[in-house]
Point group: C2
C-alpha cells in the first residue's frame, strides 16, 4: 500500500497535491494500458489517453516522457525489484546462481506488487501487445539491455572485477538475459499466466542453458 516512488524513510501523509498527482498518474496508466490492450498501441493516440482521464495532452507529457513510457510503467516496477534481489544475494554464491535465485525467489513478491497496480490479466494482454508491436518491442529490448548493464556492474563488484576489463560479467548477464526473454515469451504465449507457471518456465529454461550450449543435442 506504500507509495511507489517514495524515499525509504518517513511517509507522513503525502499531502493533497501529491495524492492528486498520484491519482492522475495511476488513472493515465490504467486508461493507457486498457486502450493499448483493446485497441492496440498504434491505434491509440495520446489524445485518446488524455481524453479518457480528462486532462490535456500536455499534461500527459508532464507525467510521461513519451507514449512508450506509460506502457512500461509496470515492468519498471518488476525490474527494480529484481535488481534489489540480486544485490541481496550472499557474496559467496556463484554469479549465475545469484541471478537465478534472485529472479526465482523474488517472483512472488513482484507478482503481488504488480497486481496492486493493475490486474495481472491486463498486464499479460499489454505484454502481448508489447511483443507484437515493433516500436514497443524495440523499447522493451533496449530497457532489457539497460537492466543487463546494471546487473553486470553488480556482478563485477561482487567478484571484485572491472566490467570493462573482464568481459565475463557482461557475457554472463547477456546470456542470462537472453534466456529470461525466451522464458517470458513462452509465458506470454501460453494460457497459464500465474506466477507459479512463470517460475516453472524460468526454471526449465535456465536449466537448459548448459545443455543447449553443450556439444551435441542428440543425447536428449
Amino acid at each position: 500500500m506504500e507509495t511507489v516512488g517514495t524515499a525509504v524513510g518517513a511517509l507522513p501523509r503525502p499531502g493533497l497535491r501529491e495524492r492528486k498527482k498520484q491519482r492522475t498518474r495511476d488513472a493515465l496508466v490504467r486508461a493507457a494500458l486498457e486502450l493499448f490492450a483493446t485497441r492496440g498501441y498504434e491505434r491509440t493516440t495520446v489524445d485518446d489517453i488524455a481524453a479518457a482521464v480528462d486532462v490535456s495532452q500536455r499534461t500527459f507529457f508532464r507525467y510521461f516522457a513519451s507514449k512508450e513510457e506509460v506502457a512500461f510503467f509496470v515492468p519498471r516496477l518488476a525490474e527494480s525489484r529484481v535488481v534489489e534481489a540480486v544485490r541481496g544475494r550472499p557474496a559467496g554464491e556463484a554469479p549465475l546462481e545469484a541471478l537465478r535465485r534472485a529472479v526465482l525467489d523474488s517472483w512472488d513478491d513482484i507478482t503481488e506488487a504488480v497486481e496492486q497496480l493493475v490486474p495481472l490479466e491486463l498486464h499479460l494482454r499489454v505484454y502481448r501487445v508489447i511483443e507484437s508491436t515493433p516500436a514497443l518491442l524495440a523499447a522493451h529490448l533496449r530497457r532489457a539491455t539497460e537492466l543487463e548493464e546494471e546487473l553486470a556492474h553488480i556482478v563485477a563488484v561482487r567478484e571484485g572485477l572491472d566490467v570493462d576489463a573482464d568481459p565475463r560479467p557482461r557475457i554472463l548477464v547477456a546470456a542470462f538475459g537472453g534466456v529470461v526473454r525466451v522464458a517470458e515469451r513462452r509465458w506470454s504465449a501460453g494460457d497459464d499466466f500465474s506466477a507459479a507457471a512463470m517460475r516453472d518456465l524460468m526454471t526449465v529454461c535456465l536449466d537448459l542453458v548448459g545443455p543447449a550450449l553443450a556439444g551435441n543435442w542428440r543425447t536428449s
Copy 2:
C-alpha cells in the same frame, strides 16, 4: 560491382531507370550516414538528407520506410551473409559450433562487402552513433532478435526439432546473440576496427561463455 538486390540468375544490364534508382539509393545512404556520423542522428532531419541528394523528402520515404531504416542499410547486408553462412554449415556439426564458425569464417567476406558500400571507418562511426542513440539502439536490438529468431529456426531444422516445442534452439541463439553483442560493443569501443580485431574479440568472448556460466570464477 554487381547490383546488390538482384535475383541469382541472369543480370542482363539493369536498364537506365533501375540504374538511376540504384544511384539515388546509394547517394541517400551515403549522405545519411555521413550526416549521422558527423552531426548525430537526432540532429539530422530527413529534409537534410533529402536536400543533400537534391530530392524531395517524399522521395526519401519511397526508398526507406523510416529514418531509422537508412541507418541499418549496411548491417542488413552483414546479417544476410551470416544467415547464409549458418545455412551452409555441415549438418553433423554441434549447434553452437555451427553458429560460431559461421560468424568467424564469413567475417572477412562480410567486411569486404561492407567496404564496397562505404568506408569501414564511416561504418564504425555510424555504429557508435547507433549504440549511443536510444532510438537507434532500440531498433538495433529489435533487428538482432529478429535475426536470432531466424537462426533459431535454422538450428531447429538442423536438429530435427520444433522451435515452439523445444526451447533449446531459442535459448542457444539468445545466449549466442548476447555474447555477439558484447563483442560488438568491445569492438566499437576500441581503437582497432579491423576485421581481424573483431574476429579475435568474438573468439575470446565465445570462449568465455562456458567459464562465465560455470560455478565459481575465482579459479581464473
